[in-house]
Amino acid sequence: MNKLAAMITKRIVFGVLTLFAISLLIFVGVEALPGDLAEAILGQNATPETIQAFRTELKLDLPAHERYFAWINAFVHGDLGKSLANGRPIAEVIGWRFANSLLLAGATALFAIPLAIILGLLAAIYRDSWFDKCISMVTLSAISLPEFFVAYILIALLSVQIFLFPSISNINDQMSVFQKMHAIFLPCLTLAFVVVGHMMRMTRAAIINVLSSPFIEMAKLKGIGRKRIIVKHALPNALSPIINVVVLNLAYLVVGVVVVEVVFVYPGLGQLLVDAVSKRDLPVVQASGLIFAATYVFLNLTADVLSMLSNPKLRNPR
């Protein structure tokens, strides 16, 4: 277990370094984007004088490195700063949106992950049967469709044709938990369509891969039933790739759902990040980008720890 603790510590240190590297990358990236906040906000209404006024007030005319160090200095002291565009404290702008993003990801994961793994197992157990083929076709078509397309179809069917669920999910504080769940049903379903296929197929492939190992052959020779072999022997040994793909998809659910947010008007972090990038609102881009990155680093660490625990060979040093 000491090795595990050492690895976790090491990974956390690397994680922090990763975040630092990302903050630098984001800064350079936003700097490299043509135009700045003043031009982006004024858009077609910009004149040279008003742009200058903006730049002076927001200190955009300072050299880039000075601005970066000022930001990182405040950041390590726990001050996220204020949005350049509207002067609101960033913690206030981001907090509730991040909670919303987690809610959507969590609600989707809660039924999508078990579903995907069970389907994957079933497909592996009844490999090459009509069930396997059908499920394979359905999931493949589901993941080959763009998510906004799936979303529009679900809206057309379940909201416009028969009004079962609302077509926009603009949840707010006044709603009860049940109302929120009702409101986010369609985005969850859309996201499930997108992630279940990937996870299910990787589960199936990993298990089938393990099934060809000698120890499974041995178990077969011993006369153990197919289902039992798969669940008791193959699944534990296929966990590592399955955990990896699950984590990748979890990360996607938190970080990559901006299109679904737009279609369902869901107030999540993705939409904020896109808006902030297009307005060059650097502190907001930094804060939300780092939250995404931290989520990802954390999930990744979890995946590695779990893979390690699940694979006896990896657990013990060579």
Binding site: L42, A53, V93, V263, V265, D275, A276
Partner: protein
Amino acid sequence: MVGLELLQRLLSEGKVSRREFIAQAAALGATAAFSQSIFASNAFAGDEPRRGGRLRIGISGGSTTDTIDPAASTDMMNQILINGQLGNSLVEIDHENKPIPELAESWESSPDARIWNFKLRKGVEFHNGKTMDADDVIHSLNHHRGEDTKSAAKVIVDSIEEIKKEDKYTISIVLKSGNADFPFLLSDYHLIIAPATSDFTDGIFSGGYILQQYEPGVRAFATKNPNYFKSDRAFFDEVETLGINDVNARTNALKTGQIDIMNRCELKTVHLLKKMKGIEIIRQNGFKHYTFAMQCDTAPYNSNDVRLALKYGVDREKLLETILRGYGSIGNDHPISTANRYHASELPQRQFDPDKAKFHLKKAGITDASFDFHTSEAAFSGAIDAGVIYKETAAKAGITINVVREPNDGYWSNVWMKKPWCAVFWGGRPTEDMMFSTAYAADAAWNDTSWKNNRFNELLVTARAELDEAKRRAMYVEMQSIVRDDGGVVVPMFAADLAATSDKIAHGPVSANWELDGLRAPERWWFKS
């Protein structure tokens, strides 16, 4: 029945009043029942406005980086909130495109139209209980003036030399040069009046609704102002404004009854939306137009023959039909709309003419060139498709257009005014002078064609201070003809504003100066009983 259709159009554009309409319709032989049915279907419900209910508006044009400061208001969500619910300007534009009193009770000018006196309305109360006076007005106008202002309206108030307080309820504004249309300028949606102590970030103004909750780009919630100074306005109890930028999401929300009003219908699908039960489409033929702007100081666009060739090479009817699905009217290569007072209807309409285009191209000495046309959905919805169609039709005239798609992000700072030929959106202006001074005067900050025409610039200054209607008209007609034949813009079409409402919403004749009844839908509209 042609006469009747025309009449109906005039009615919808606010060119005739309801009474005139009925009288004229009767003269054309329509029965009273028929004209009433037009009113009914157009939501002129016939009965008195009803109070109450919660209005839910799904609006495009909100961003999470918005602020409540009117000076920073650049898009629709904040405009409909600040101008349509929370605040008022000195002057309002009515459905006949005339300036009418709002916070100013009356005004008069010196004979050279340089000094303007405004009498302010007495007894107007801000949301914080303070009574409005001259100090508040001066404070609010000065917010957009001076060296260090960040206001997007700086250009609009630049012509003001001095604002003086005459007494508690009178101000006098001295302009740098005469401007007969000055009251129009004061109706601008940035120039909202706030208390003198205001830093413009708390949403406290004098309007018919009081801000309760505000989450930029997402949602705003306002309730009725019980002390509103207009007794016949602001009929709803509550107004909820939702930022919905995806047009399909907006349309679906309206179809499923989650919102009552949406702006900017998708033109591709609006004919389908129109057929749906319980939904009304509201069309406003306003000033909004699209231009293809050529930099007149950059080769090859410095040759007027090239410009003319490209003007003859565009199939306006086809663009209108395909991009706007007919919701608009074709342009005549100048930016003055039929809704403007001095629109030059006597100028011949420029048509798609491959032969003339070829002729001018040859005259310019260009035989085998391709023109890069920079466009993006950020310019206007359908701008990329418009480029593609332009390319297809211009090919018939032997003109090769290369459509370059630019990213939406940063279009206005990186492409517009920078690339030699690009697609541009103009919301248009209620007066000829505002439009020409903004984008066609030689020294205008947004002269996006770098066009300099001496005769035009002389006329611009003279016409601005001219109070005689007939003389002004002649000058503006000449200016339109100069832009048409020499200017750097192809103006293929004017776009109507399309909004859709549930059929529970009723309203009077709508103003066309801005979207949604001149941004005043929350104040002027009501729920049918």
